[in-house]
């Protein structure tokens, strides 16, 4: 009996008393422990894809906006992970909610709308393309040409973002890798968008109000400031940087399980977007 007791104890001790640490993809047994919001040397980005942020300024009282949504849904199906859509409600009269619906507008959306001169709805931008003015277009008429043009640009900076949610609290890790020299200062913008938000939407016939309209990729909050946080990097090709951010969902009505974190890198001077990831 004593022998069995001993071997049982030995097995139990062996089983619980030796931890195994798994290495990351680069064979390192490390974890980020730097200060949030600070930039550190990073491990690089595995996916060097160029991706496009398709921003759509929209409103619940905009009758053509559902048509724009349909085109964007089709584009998302077509382009897959290379396209990230974002629905922005500014404070124009088109965004005034029906009935008791909550307003979907954001302060940052309004700030962007004013900066980019949004005056018609829906209006879209692909990576905030700038050519003697920002290239604004009606998504209801198609988005592929603009998306293709943006995707045709070489990837200057690769970007990856991961988020770990604990209840309403997010820990967001961002890795960037310069694939080309970039002389201009860059900023990183982090935002929270929510899918499956039910709110009344005016339909293309101009009179029907769909009270069960589903709003997807809805801008809820900008985690950094509206124009992003400065990226501390020398901009030389090969430079790899990492930063961690902490964020808590601001509104209890937003459903964290429907929320996604989106990151994009933009030129601090021209606001043009170099890459995006979700």
């Amino acid at each position: 009996m004593k022998r069995y007791l001993f071997f049982s104890l030995a097995l139990a001790l062996a089983a619980v008393s030796c931890d195994k640490i798994e290495a990351d993809s680069e064979g390192r047994y490390i974890q980020f422990s730097g200060a949030t919001g600070e930039w550190y040397d990073g491990k690089g980005v595995a996916d060097h894809s160029q991706r496009v942020l398709l921003e759509k300024y929209t409103g619940v009282r905009c009758k053509n906006c559902p048509d724009g949504d349909a085109v964007i849904y089709a584009a998302l199906e077509s382009y897959g992970h290379k396209l990230v859509a974002l629905a922005i409600h500014d404070s124009s009269s088109f965004t005034r909610p029906y009935g008791n619906d909550a307003r979907l507008s954001t302060a940052e959306g309004e700030e962007w709308s004013n900066y980019f001169g949004i005056s018609a709805y829906p209006t879209a931008m692909a990576n905030r393309k700038y050519n003697d003015g920002y290239s604004l277009f009606n998504p209801a008429g198609g988005v592929n040409a603009e998306v293709d043009e943006a995707l045709g640009e070489p990837t200057r900076v690769a970007l990856a973002v991961t988020s770990d949610r604990n209840g309403a609290a997010y820990t967001i890790d961002v890795d960037i890798e310069f694939l080309q020299d970039v002389a201009d200062p860059l900023t990183l913008t982090l935002l929270l968008m929510e899918d499956s938000v039910r709110a009344t939407q005016l339909q293309p016939d101009g009179s029907t109000k769909d009270t069960n309209y589903i709003h997807n990729h809805l801008l809820r909050d900008v985690i950094t400031n509206a124009w992003g946080a400065d990226i501390s990097a020398d901009g030389k090709a090969g430079t790899k940087r990492h930063a961690r951010f902490a964020y808590t969902v601001q509104n209890p009505l937003w459903k964290p399980e429907h929320c996604k974190v989106v990151a994009f890198i933009s030129d601090k001077n021209t606001r043009q977007i170099l890459n995006v990831a979700e």
Partner: protein, 553 residues
């Protein structure tokens, strides 16, 4: 380490015992020993002896053991006021260092308090103390030895390790079993082949902490529980014996290995043959990242959970032991051969009393490694049978012969090649040739005379940047005279006559009676390294009077 109520209780018990009953209490026995080593130091800029402001340095200890049937209780009082040169300054202080109670019967022995323990050859657990090295990694906790059936021994241990006057952060847990097949199975009792097998497992728990990696902004993912296991077997057949032990250790990033995650392993094999007038043995080992401490940040001599046995000869002559080998638990490979042969007496070569020959050689190298990264990575890879740079090699041949009833002479030639990288500093390999002549003569009526002469020729040169005062060519003489049955007087001098520094003379006087020994010596001590069993400490240069008193009761 503050005395606990437990220790105070024990102390009170002993004081009562000694005061009231002398040698016994309730039929029990009190035994003990006292050792006091003191040194009155003087600065000496030539040899590098520093000026100790306290002047009088002392290591002292008193062990007291009470035994009554299966019950034992003991304690040790230690005082370092301050510690002798070469001992870690963190020993400074005095108090109860060890205390325990234990009970043993035929089946089980349980110890509570501080205890020492070893599993197998110690490659996964060896809690021990060596007062001359300044190591005491006793465990404070519980220790159990059980013998459930004949031939089977089971051990369990749990506790924290002593670190000078404190205890380390880590908790050490271990379990070990050993079976003597010839004893356990009656059918094997008469078998000439004797087989013993054993296995053990040790685990260390230490809380998480933030240790930066070599990548800015990242810290290490630390294993909180680090395990090490070992298997062993001993075979003995008539004059032959073969023993082997293999140990593995899990991921253990620590300060010794530069916080790498490579798993550790060690293999120790030894074979021997002996018969009357002849014995031979060979040992081989390979150690790879097996430094195992109960605190991952510890770098000094303390808190070692395990011990990697040395397979180099423990030389006793001064110049042969001037460059001792320190076991490299982080990685080494070694081989040792040893042959002893007695040339028969009444032969041309053996003479009237026979002649003893003792040949020993060993070689230790590093591992052949390929670097994979720094802290927070696997560290390196290595090929099992491929050797790295030479760390140490030695060869010695001793010829000893009793000339007649009164006179005996021993001559030794030794060769040592030593890589200073194992002591953490640069410089090329040192190659030393050593010749020793040792003559002793019995003078009758408790008198004897011993004369020893040594010479060492070395290709090393003193370099003030490295400041290794062992460099150069040396000669030494020693005369030791024992008289009156209790007294001895010795004079010795070590002198570096070429490419080095120093003239180290010492005069010593001693008195021994029964279990008490008093020794006084005055002179200069050369700086160097003292190693016992591959574990070493630096010995700084000193100049002054040394007093040593030991007694037991």
């Amino acid at each position: 380490m503050k005395p606990t109520r437990f220790a105070i209780l024990l102390l009170a018990l002993f004081m009562h015992t000694v005061a009231a009953h002398g040698q016994g209490i309730g039929g029990g026995q009190v035994t003990g020993n006292v050792q006091i080593d003191g040194q009155l130091t003087r600065p000496d800029s030539l040899i590098g002896a520093k000026d100790d402001p306290e002047r009088w340095l002392m290591n002292a200890r008193a062990d007291i053991l009470y035994t009554n049937g299966g019950f034992n209780a003991g304690l040790r009082f230690e005082a370092y006021t301050p510690p002798l040169p070469g001992f870690n300054a963190q020993y400074k202080g005095q108090g109860l260092a060890n205390y325990f109670v234990s009970y043993a019967n035929e089946q089980i022995e349980v110890t509570a308090g501080t205890f020492y323990e070893q599993f197998g050859s110690g490659m996964i657990l060896r809690a021990y103390e060596d007062r001359y090295i300044g190591i005491d990694n006793a465990l404070l906790g519980f220790n159990i030895h059980a013998r459930p059936i004949k031939g089977v021994t089971l051990k369990g241990a749990i506790g924290k390790q002593r670190r000078y006057w404190e205890y380390g952060n880590g908790i050490v847990r271990g379990i070990d079993g050993e079976i003597d097949l010839n004893t356990a199975f009656s059918k094997l009792e008469e078998m000439p082949l004797h087989i013993t097998m054993g296995a053990g497992f040790v685990s260390r728990y230490e809380a998480d902490e933030n240790i930066a990696s070599s990548t800015q902004g990242y810290s290490l993912k630390l294993p909180l529980n680090v395990g090490a296991g070992a298997m062993r077997m001993n075979l003995a057949y008539k004059g032959w014996s073969l023993a082997g032990e293999y140990a593995r250790k899990g991921q253990d990033p620590n300060a010794m290995n530069g916080y790498i995650y490579r798993k550790g392993e060690a293999l120790l094999i030894s074979g021997a043959y002996s018969q009357k007038g002849f014995s031979a043995s060979v040992q081989a080992k390979r150690v790879d990242n097996m430094g195992f401490k109960s605190s991952r940040r510890e770098t000094g001599e303390m808190l070692y959970i395990n011990h990697i046995p040395a397979i180099t000869k423990q030389h006793t002559y001064a110049f042969l032991s001037m460059y001792p080998y320190a076991t490299q638990a982080t990685g080494e490979m070694g081989l040792q051969g040893d042959v002893m042969y007695k040339i028969k007496k009444e032969t041309l070569l053996g003479g009237k009393y026979g002649t003893d020959l003792h040949f020993n050689c060993s070689v230790i190298t590093g591992l052949d490694t390929v670097a994979l990264g720094g802290a927070g990575t696997e560290g390196y890879s290595s090929t099992f049978f491929s050797t790295g740079e030479l760390y140490y090699g030695d060869m010695s041949l001793e010829i000893a012969r009793k000339l007649d009833a009164k006179n005996k002479i021993a001559c030794t030639y030794g060769y040592v090649v030593f890589n200073p990288v194992i002591e953490g500093h640069g410089g090329g390999l040192h190659h030393n040739n050593v010749i020793v002549a040792d003559y002793s003569r019995k003078l009758g009526k408790g008198k004897s005379l011993r004369i020893e002469g040594e010479w060492m020729g070395s290709d090393s040169h003193y370099d003030s940047e490295i400041d290794d005062k062992r460099s150069g060519d040396w000669i030494m003489g020693l005369v030791e005279y024992n008289f009156g049955g209790h007294f001895f007087l010795s004079l010795s001098d070590q002198y570096c006559y070429n490419d080095g520094i120093g003239n180290y003379y010492t005069a010593a006087f001693g008195y021994t009676k029964n279990a008490t020994r008093l020794q006084l010596s005055y002179g200069k001590q050369r700086e160097g390294i003292l190693c016992i069993g591959g574990v070493c400490r630096a010995v700084p240069a000193t100049n002054g009077l040394t007093v040593s008193l030991t007694t037991s009761f």
